[in-house]
């Protein structure tokens, strides 16, 4: 087929939007942790942005979207190092646009995991998580659902933009990770309140914005399907935001800003698999369900004792499930011929069954493999920073930085350039100049 400039423009800008979700997530998560670990959280997100990009062009795209190497489990090496992609066309867009778009999905999915291990893991261990988990968990799953693998091709379950690959995956991988890494010091004792809620809300806004690229971009063309996916995304996100704070109002007495932001994300999560298969009223229902259920799910960790610090399971895992099951209930071919009819649209239990199989297969696979990866990393590298470092702040320990320096009064007098490398020289210079100044 020929390249269509409108479709290409849409996929390119969508890829840019999805890329922006990772800095958005860095703020959303970064604002939620305590002030002493904001930078580490943002660093984890930016590391995903860096490392996954490289993996993707080297071998990730090839294994995920290369021709199936047999059993519907993994692609082959045809596109290794971006071989055979330059100048090629995929549908109505350049292949490299598709590669780029899909890359950004791998990045954000990996970055989501950081929420489960806030405040406490060594950077080197996190890099190991990125590499191993992307290779052994994300890439196979992308192949299964979208790359010609068994979920998409044999089973025929529906997942428009990543209910399995992105949401259930990140949620249940996060659970495995949180279990292996263990609780933060002070979990269930200290408040650990978000240190900067305005940037949490900003991050939520950026994620909401980027999600239009994520969902509507997944149409891979700028037409009716993209428009449907987009309005569904808006409606479901809005409905879930309201449902979450409604639960809060009833349960806790007050609607919170963290709640409306969390609810919005839970709705965007739930509409991710379903946005191309339901109509706006279906999206509304899915949103109400997602917001209410996830608002309840995030308190499970306190009862069960795993410290999924920023609720990746509660929001993405559970929200993803709601969306996958929602397809089985409210999907309708009136919206998309390539979709199906859910239970309420007269399609019976057939589609619902497929959705459940895809969901459970994903849950099982990602939980087990991530748990194995995490155990391995813990043995070989070791996850946790020292207790002192964790208490006094991982930012200083891992990055020799602190997030804010909002008072400028005494920094000059009680600080000096250090002893290390270049600095030795500077100190010398600095001293001289200091005397000149007087």
């Amino acid at each position: 087929m020929e390249i269509n400039s409108g479709d290409t423009a849409w996929v390119l800008i969508s890829a840019a939007l999805v890329m922006l979700m990772t800095p958005g997530l860095a703020l959303f998560y970064g604002g939620m942790v305590r002030v002493k670990s904001v930078l580490n959280m943002m660093m984890m997100c930016f590391l995903a942005l860096g490392v996954v990009s490289i993996i993707w062009v080297l071998y990730g795209y090839s294994l995920a979207f290369g021709p199936d190497s047999g059993a519907g489990l993994i692609g082959n090496f045809d596109f290794i190092g971006m071989a055979n992609t330059v100048g090629e066309v995929e549908g109505t867009i350049p292949t490299l646009a598709f590669v780029m778009f899909q890359m950004t999905f791998g990045i954000i999915t990996c970055a989501l995991l950081a929420g489960a291990v806030a405040d406490r893991i060594r950077t080197i261990a996190w890099i190991a998580v990125i590499v191993l988990w992307t290779t052994l968990v994300y890439i196979p799953l992308a192949h299964w659902t979208w790359g010609g693998g068994w979920i998409g091709n044999q089973l025929g379950a529906l997942d428009f933009a990543g209910g399995t690959v992105v949401e259930i995956n990140s949620g249940f991988s996060a659970l495995a990770l949180a279990i292996v890494v263990g609780q933060r010091i002070g979990f269930r004792r200290d408040p650990m309140r978000p240190h900067n809620l305005p940037i949490v809300l900003l991050g939520a806004g950026m994620l909401w914005f980027g999600w239009f690229g994520f969902n509507a971009g997944s149409a891979l063309s700028a037409g009716d399907l993209a428009a449907t996916a987009m309005i569904n995304t808006q409606v479901c996100t809005a409905a879930a935001a309201l449902a979450w704070i409604f639960v809060e109002k009833i349960r806790d007495g007050k609607p919170t800003t963290l709640g409306i932001a969390s609810g919005a994300i839970s709705g965007a999560v739930a509409i991710t698999p379903s946005c191309g298969f339901v109509n706006p009223m279906g999206a509304l229902l899915i949103g109400l369900a997602a917001g209410a259920i996830c608002a309840w799910a995030v308190s499970l960790k306190y009862k069960l004792g795993y410290d999924d610090s920023l609720d990746v399971l509660g929001v993405h895992g559970i929200g993803g499930l709601v969306g996958m099951i929602g397809i089985g209930l409210v999907a309708t071919t009136a919206v998309n011929d390539a979709g199906g009819n859910g239970l309420f649209a007269g399609g019976g239990f057939d589609l619902l069954n497929k959705q459940l199989i895809a969901s459970f297969a994903t849950m099982a696979y990602v939980f087990i493999v991530t748990w194995l990866i995490a155990m391995l990393i813990d043995k070989v590298i070791g996850f946790r920073v020292s207790p002192e470092a964790e208490v006094s702040g991982i930012d200083l320990d891992q990055h020799a930085e602190s997030g804010y320096e909002l008072t400028d009064t005494t920094s000059g007098a009680f600080a000096g350039v250090g002893q290390h490398g270049l600095s030795e020289y500077l100190q010398q210079e600095g001293r001289d100049e200091k005397h000149e100044d007087k």
Binding site: P191, R193, P194, E248, R251, D252, G253, K254, T256, L258, G259, S262, A295, W296, V298, S299, Y302, D311
Partner: protein, 112 residues
């Protein structure tokens, strides 16, 4: 010389300041502190978990005063900062041996 220190509610500062000006106070030093006491803290909620924050924001005022002015200043502080509800704060007085104004090197009462 005395150092009068007061811990008061932030939102009473407007009144406290006026009262102090009326008894002739011309300088003071303010800092932000947190108080713990009979007054309960407030509740915050995050993702369904509820926390009680027992520290209450307060303002600390320090005033260097001549011996004979101290009592009047204490009274002015107590009167103006009072709301009759728990958490109004404390005022105390400590003896000071020397006071110097940095700019001039003046000492004692002249330093104020």
């Amino acid at each position: 010389m005395k150092l009068v220190t007061a811990i008061v509610r932030p939102f009473k500062m407007e009144d406290v300041k006026s009262a102090l000006e009326q008894v002739g106070v011309q300088g003071l030093t303010v800092s932000e502190v947190s108080g713990f006491g009979r007054q309960g803290g407030h509740v915050e909620v995050y993702r369904g978990a509820e926390y009680v924050v027992n520290l209450v924001p307060k303002v600390k005022i320090e005033i260097l005063a001549e011996d004979e002015d101290a009592a009047r200043i204490v009274d002015a502080l107590v009167d103006s900062a009072r709301t009759d509800r728990i958490g109004d704060g404390k005022v105390w007085v400590v003896p000071v041996e020397t006071v110097v104004r940095v700019r001039t090197g003046e000492r004692g009462d002249d330093a104020l």
